[in-house]
Assembly symmetry: none
Homo-oligomer: 182 residues x 2
Amino acid sequence: MTNLNSRLAERLKQIRAERGWSLQQLAEASGISRSTLSRVENGEVSPTAETLGALSTCYRMTISQLLAPIEAPFAPLVRKGEQSQWQDADNGFSRRVVSPPSGGLSAEVVRCDLDAYQDISYAAPSLPGHEHHLLMLSGRLTVNTSGEEYLLEAGDCLRYQLYGPSRFRTGSDAASYLIVLV
Amino acid sequence: MTNLNSRLAERLKQIRAERGWSLQQLAEASGISRSTLSRVENGEVSPTAETLGALSTCYRMTISQLLAPIEAPFAPLVRKGEQSQWQDADNGFSRRVVSPPSGGLSAEVVRCDLDAYQDISYAAPSLPGHEHHLLMLSGRLTVNTSGEEYLLEAGDCLRYQLYGPSRFRTGSDAASYLIVLV
DNA sequence: AAGTGAATTCCCGTATATGAGATTAATTTC
DNA sequence: GAAATTAATCTCATATACGGGAATTCACTT
């Protein structure tokens, strides 16, 4: 995994260069010594999660934002578990895959129409971590995911990454919404 | 930063529990010893980036996906009223960034409303290769990109990757559409 | 070119993350 | 219940990440 270290090194060098900081300044801001910073930025060592946390904090970003550009895209062969879900639509619920992923594209758009007084739950996905953008077109919808509950109205946009079970339900109003799956 | 280690520990424990793996199985799949895995999952040590990489690989996810749930969350809900709107001066064109990119997310959704008899051209993007999904909400729109011309109507979805200049125009009908930028 | 200052890298001692094996705890099987 | 099997933790030795300071390199000035 030396490859990861060298890519991380390049990334960190670039970020520090963008901010115009010296190792000394970064050391004071992060609480990490100059020597460690030098070795990390030269790919000689693999920093600990704590070190990564300190760096991302003083750069005002999350570790994910720090690492996302240097990670290999994950395997695209991932939607078997989802497709079975697409089929079990009840009566008050219709889904249409507006823009299926194909040919190397990485996003798909699904339009969903849910009647009033519907309640739909999904089990945790087999391959978690997909990024979702839920855009309300009309109506009202209550969404539970990641232990949080959101009441959405037309025009709202809810973004989340799907790691566990989720639940969608309507009250007296029907709901139409788009889900952008990345 | 012990807090980070303990949250990471919980996260890793949960993932392994979901898959029903033992430490022994995870050790063989990841190349990390059982003892190290035990200490990491108990928050006693801070794993190196290499260790995180090995774990995320054998769990079939990126490090970002591994860490995202335990990091300070970005605002996941963007209300309609909070979405920044761009009124392109005098012309009958308004854009609203429905879902701005942040927190390591890789897609953004823009809603565009174009009046009748408008003609808008874009130069080649500075960062080419972005994947676009254009979803027509209502009206009619003529799009030129990659040397092709498309006439879109409500419900249509055009997918393309933007490498060169592009042109959007309406005839007697106004157009509303979404652009999903990946 | 040489000097001055800053920034970075190298060297060493220390702290800690890791691996291999032994010990303990939990579960199953008879 | 006891033995057997598996899973998790603990012990110790090693590898390596880290901090402090010295040495080097780099940039700029005169």
